[in-house]
């Protein structure tokens, strides 16, 4: 019974940084507490009232002390703040070669989607030593995705994407918790992340093989008629989507008003999602407001499907946009078995 943990595992590259900062603040806590408790006890012993009518000298203040105990804590606080920002920067900037995994939270489960199309519920698998970036959203209320062993956490906000990243340093199985109260079964919205060696991971991936996310996205692209306007022909009525992910897109209108010359937007996942849900929000240069593109809400494109579309758009290389009457085969790079459209 006494064999219970007091210290969480530190199983990611960031965890030791967080630990070091934590220990520093613990030291500050212990120091201040010892100082205060110690002086309280000391003064109680030294200065307890010795006679009923005893009156001590009536000191009023000391500017030196006041400055001292204002300035020194200020300096210490600034140090703690700066160190906190340094660790925070590590926590929020993912490496460029992170593998993307998409997480959708809903009452009361976590759904994970891998680039290869594999899906899991309430579980994740990751490779030892390889960075993973999670893009997270919610289908209904606020949730929050947290892996204490990695010291990471991010809310799942309906209507937008948030991200977190980690690189595991220790194989094992760790808790996933939902850490934003989301209703009756909040405490059951938990899972496990399994960190494995590369070989075991590949084995696991192939066992769960399915049509990849991007391939699914391509099917949606056709089914939802995106290809009608965003086709591969030269007189397409809509901008080309080839290689636009993380490019700067020149704009002509933003929120309905003309923009300053040279204004651009970064085409990240949030932008791609917004352009599908509410096309008139931002209009690319050369096109008019309001957009002629219809708006696709949750009933037409669910959050899961949205991730697939985005995965497809991210995979789209030059010259690969399907034409409206396409007879070309699907690139095998997307994972389709050879020979099938």
């Amino acid at each position: 019974m006494w064999d219970f943990p007091i210290w969480p595992e530190a199983a990611s590259t960031v965890a030791p940084s967080v630990e070091a900062l934590y220990l520093f603040i613990v030291a500050l806590n212990i120091g201040m507490t010892a100082l205060v408790f110690g002086l309280l006890v000391l003064f109680s012993v030294l200065y307890y009232r010795r006679a009923d009518d005893q009156v001590p000298p009536q000191y009023h203040g000391s500017m030196l002390l006041e400055i001292g105990w204002t300035a020194i804590p200020t300096v210490i606080c600034l140090i703690v703040f700066a160190w906190g920002v340094k660790v925070y920067a590590e926590l929020v900037v993912p490496p460029a070669d992170s593998m993307d995994v998409y997480i959708v939270g809903r009452q009361w489960m976590w759904k994970a989607q891998y680039p290869g199309g594999q899906r899991e519920i309430n579980a994740l698998h990751a490779v030892l030593g390889k960075p993973v970036k999670l893009t997270i959203t919610s289908e209904d209320v606020l949730h929050s995705f947290s892996i204490p062993a990695f010291r990471v956490k991010s809310d799942a906000v309906p209507g937008r994407y948030t991200t977190l990243w980690f690189q595991p340093t220790q194989a094992g199985v760790y808790h996933i918790f939902c850490t934003e109260y989301c209703g009756t079964e909040h405490s059951r919205m938990i899972g496990k992340i399994t960190v494995m060696e590369e070989g075991d991971y590949q084995k696991w991936l192939s066992e769960k093989a399915e049509l990849g996310d991007a391939l699914q996205g391509r099917k949606l692209f056709a089914k939802l008629q995106c290809v009608t306007c965003h086709a591969g022909e030269s007189q397409a009525r809509a901008p080309s989507l080839e290689e636009i992910h993380m490019k700067r897109i020149p704009l002509s209108f933003d929120k309905g008003s003309p923009v300053a010359p040279g204004a651009t937007v970064l085409a990240d996942e949030n932008y791609l999602r917004e352009s599908i849900r509410y096309p008139s929000a931002k209009i690319a240069a050369g096109y008019q407001y309001p957009s002629i593109m219809p708006a696709y809400d949750e009933s037409l494109v669910s959050e899961d499907e949205m991730f697939q579309l985005i995965a497809y758009i991210k995979s789209l290389k030059k010259g690969q946009t399907p034409t409206r009457n396409e007879h070309t085969t699907t690139p095998t790079a997307l994972g389709a078995p050879a020979g099938r459209p």
């Binding site: 929120k255 309905g256 849900r277 008139s280 309001p290 708006a295 809400d297």
Partner: protein, 275 residues
């Protein structure tokens, strides 16, 4: 604490014959007057913060949905809004005269000027009622009845010649009966994210103006009570702090409207240029 005693202040029960002029816990008329004034100013500060929450929400969504808010604002009639602004300013003038009369001890004049203030306030609310009736016909009340496609179409028709104006909506209980919106309009709205954004504008419009109107109605009630007291000569040049306080309150209500009017009615209005 070093303290010396002082004789009990006699002024409370001295020269002013009316016993009500000085409450027993105050030591002087000045203290009572200052306390009353400061109290009302503090209360108005809370009102600023109260309305401020709505103004904050408005500002954020105005920035987020700029164009749609502009289009929605254009549905409102700035002429009626401007007339209402003038009406409220007049009501503040009459209120100021009421306070002046109280300072001069002219009880009947207080009643007259407060009455005039209420009349102007009622005129404001009457014009508002007319506006809301028109809004109901356009289906811009932020209820399940809201329809942006309908609103824009009928508003454009209304501007350039007359559409079917014959049957205005009737007020049944607290709800206006407007013509039913055909299904294709509902369909069009459901495919248009801007409809929800416009509904948000109108929600903010109706909640801010309703809150303002509620404050006016409460003001009427307080003024009516003060009118009764004034009629019976309760206020003197030494004791008129309730009149002064309601005056402050009323000027605040006026000031809130002066902020609401441009924010709600004049978005994107290029005064002097055509529509």
């Amino acid at each position: 604490m070093q303290v010396t005693e002082k004789k009990h202040a006699q002024e409370a029960h001295d020269d002013h014959g009316h016993g009500h002029e000085l409450a027993h816990h105050f030591v002087s008329v000045e203290q009572q007057h200052d306390a009353g004034n400061l109290g009302m100013w503090m209360f108005l500060t809370t009102e600023v913060l109260f309305f401020g929450g709505l103004f904050a929400a408005y500002t954020i969504y105005r920035y987020k949905f700029e164009k749609v808010f502009e289009q929605a604002s254009n549905i409102l009639d700035p002429m009626l809004g401007a007339i209402n602004t003038i009406v409220l300013i007049f009501s503040s003038v009459t209120m100021a005269f009421a306070v002046r009369s109280a300072q001069q001890g002219k009880s009947k004049a207080i009643v007259a000027w407060l009455g005039a203030t209420i009349v102007f306030g009622a005129l404001f609310l009457g014009i508002k009622y007319g506006e809301w009736k028109h809004d109901a016909r356009l289906h811009v009340f932020p209820t399940s009845d809201f329809n942006w496609t309908w609103a824009r179409e009928k508003h454009a028709e209304g501007e350039h010649g007359h559409g079917h104006d014959s049957h205005g909506p009737e007020l049944k209980g607290f709800v206006f009966n407007s013509p039913v919106v055909p299904a294709n309009y509902i369909e069009s709205d459901s495919r248009n994210p801007e409809a929800k954004q416009a509904k948000l504008f109108f929600f903010l419009y109706f909640s801010m103006t309703s809150l303002h109107a509620l404050h006016m109605i409460i003001g009427f009630g307080v003024m009516a009570v003060i009118m009764v007291y004034a009629w019976y000569g309760y206020y003197t040049p030494h004791y008129y702090v309730p009149v002064e306080s309601v005056g402050l309150y009323w000027h605040f209500v006026d000031l809130v409207w002066i902020f609401l009017f441009p924010l709600l009615y004049l978005l994107g209005a290029h005064l002097g240029a055509g529509h």
